[in-house]
């Protein structure tokens, strides 16, 4: 997992976020880099969703 993916992961350790809020937190990042990092999180199967559509970490992924 690259440093950008780790940054997204760390944000999600704090609280659930809408996808666009995670984008806002990393707005200075090139879009393609963000998508690559997001793909790494998806591939790692650590993401869950809450009733409002926000992303959060699966319980066993919070570390």
């Amino acid at each position: 997992m690259n440093s950008l993916a780790s940054s997204i992961l760390n944000a999600l350790k704090e609280q659930p976020y809408q996808f666009s809020e995670l984008v806002d937190l990393h707005r200075d990042v090139a879009w393609r880099d963000f998508l690559t990092a997001w793909g790494q999180l998806r591939a790692a199967a650590v993401l869950a969703r809450d009733e409002n559509g926000r992303y959060l970490l699966k319980t066993d992924a919070k570390g």
Binding site: Q18, S20, A30, L35
Partner: protein, 466 residues
């Protein structure tokens, strides 16, 4: 049910296919003054908000981080631009579409495939190379919305539909397969065998292919033939590289792969729906992409929700309404799926009525897809004029005699009033349907509806009194 009416490919290779491509439509819009070109480089996170501010369709000639790509969007966000696409007046788009349904033209195969000028297979497949747009504030991710998705079933043959794709990883997307559709059936049949369903996704095709894909055709109807009927010439198809499917040869981008046999188990959405609502998380299959093909200088089509989807829905639903009326031996005069109902949930029709046909017409219109409100008037009412429609509903309707309510019909998830969230993964919702017969009731002499006229109207001219 037999699949014999569906083709497995197309007729023999020939050069008689349609020359109307996505690029030709962009040129038509440009010529009509309906395409705004933006030269300044734009980030894919800004496409939708910029398109939403433009009265014209938009072409982004430079995309930040994607030097090979251009992006076009908002192409049919108005009925005017839809009419330009259809080559008809705004009020005649349904008739135009219905005419094509009556005169389908089978597609042809070609070896000349601009959509395969560049090919990525195996380890080179990477969806992040596409300017995948982030469209709405509450979307679950970036989406590809302007899709023609092709699949095939050994018994039923080929199907073409339109399904959104949410980015997941460089080789996987979510796909919304919640609503009843032929492809959902095909997927279920493969799922029962624990096998994947091969699909191919064409992006950047002419609006005729999009309209045909949106039409809920009988399962043994080839949507490419409907598109051919709209073009007045065969759609040129190319054989896919890695799956046994055919795509429009002139498409800008094609994704080939398979729906994994995991059922409705992966989170997908929310996505800004064509119902003009933000939507909800759904549980859906995953599309694994095995091959990406595209033009050398591709133009990505961003179908701007909700308006483009709504205006693409309207003629499809209207044409289905016309067919339902004719099948019921009712003579339609005009039909309208208002954009307030997203071109989908309401049908208003005027008819040349014989006794009892107001109700027959309602039953026919309410049988169309998930239409949940139908209004029928006589042919003296201009249904495109809301004041005339209100007048008919005020003076030709008795609620205890002229209103039909049907419970438990097929519904659509994106309508919050049907409480789809209570259904669980893969559940299918139902809805109530309402019909209003605003034709002159049987037994009331027409003289009671004689419109007032001003004395000497047309004889005495205002211009003569200055």
């Amino acid at each position: 049910m037999s699949a014999e009416k569906k083709t497995n490919g197309g007729a023999a290779n020939a050069d008689v296919g349609t020359k109307q491509s996505f690029r030709d439509f962009l040129a038509t819009l440009d010529h009509a003054g309906e395409l705004r070109r933006i030269a300044k480089p734009v980030d894919p996170r800004a496409f939708s908000t910029l398109i939403a501010q433009s009265p014209q369709a938009v072409m982004f000639d430079h995309v930040e981080g994607y030097p090979e790509w251009r992006v076009a969007g908002g192409l049919v966000s108005t009925r005017k631009r839809l009419a330009i696409a259809m080559g008809s007046t705004q009020n005649d788009v349904a008739m135009r579409f219905e005419e094509a349904l009556r005169r389908p033209i089978e597609p042809i195969m070609t070896n000349e495939a601009p959509c395969q000028e560049v090919v990525y297979e195996g380890d080179t497949v990477d969806l992040t190379t596409i300017p995948y747009p982030l469209m709405h504030k509450l979307d679950g991710g970036p989406y590809i919305s302007a899709t023609c998705v092709v699949s095939k079933d050994p018994e039923f043959g080929r199907n073409v539909g339109s399904y959104r794709l949410m980015y997941r990883t460089p080789t996987e997307t979510g796909i919304d397969l919640v609503s009843p559709s032929d492809m959902r059936l095909y997927y279920q049949r493969q799922l029962d065998r624990k096998r994947p369903l091969e699909i191919a996704v064409a992006v950047g095709v002419h609006p005729f292919e999009m309209l045909a894909a949106s039409y809920k055709a009988p399962i043994n109807t080839d949507e490419y033939a409907i598109a051919g009927g709209l073009h007045g010439a065969p759609v040129r198809l190319a054989k896919c590289r890695t799956v046994d499917l055919e795509v429009p040869a002139d498409a800008e981008l094609v994704l080939e792969g398979e729906l994994l046999p995991i059922g409705w188990s992966a989170d997908e959405g929310p996505f800004g729906e064509f119902s003009q609502i933000s939507g909800d998380v759904k549980w859906n299959p995953i599309f694994r992409v095995k091959c990406i093909t595209r033009r050398k200088d591709p133009i990505f089509y961003l179908l701007q929700m909700p308006w483009e989807n709504d205006w693409l829905c309207a003629p499809v639903v209207e044409a289905a309404g016309l067919q339902a009326l004719r099948n019921a031996s009712v003579q339609p005069v005009a039909i309208r799926a208002p954009v307030g109902s997203c071109g989908y949930w309401t049908l208003i029709a005027s008819i040349k009525k014989r006794p009892g046909e107001g109700k027959n017409a309602l039953l026919a219109l309410l049988s169309v897809a998930e239409v949940k409100l139908a209004i029928v008037t006589d042919d003296d009412i201009n249904i495109h004029d809301p004041d005339q429609l209100d007048w008919a509903m005020t003076f030709r309707v008795q609620a205890d005699k002229d209103v039909i309510i049907v419970s438990g019909a097929r519904g659509k998830h994106v309508d919050p009033s049907i409480r789809a969230w209570e259904l669980g993964k893969g559940g299918l919702p139902t809805t109530a349907k309402l019909g209003i017969d605003a034709t002159i009731p049987e037994g009331i002499p027409k003289k009671f509806y004689t419109r007032l006229e001003y004395y000497d109207f047309g004889g005495t001219k205002l211009g003569d009194y200055k």
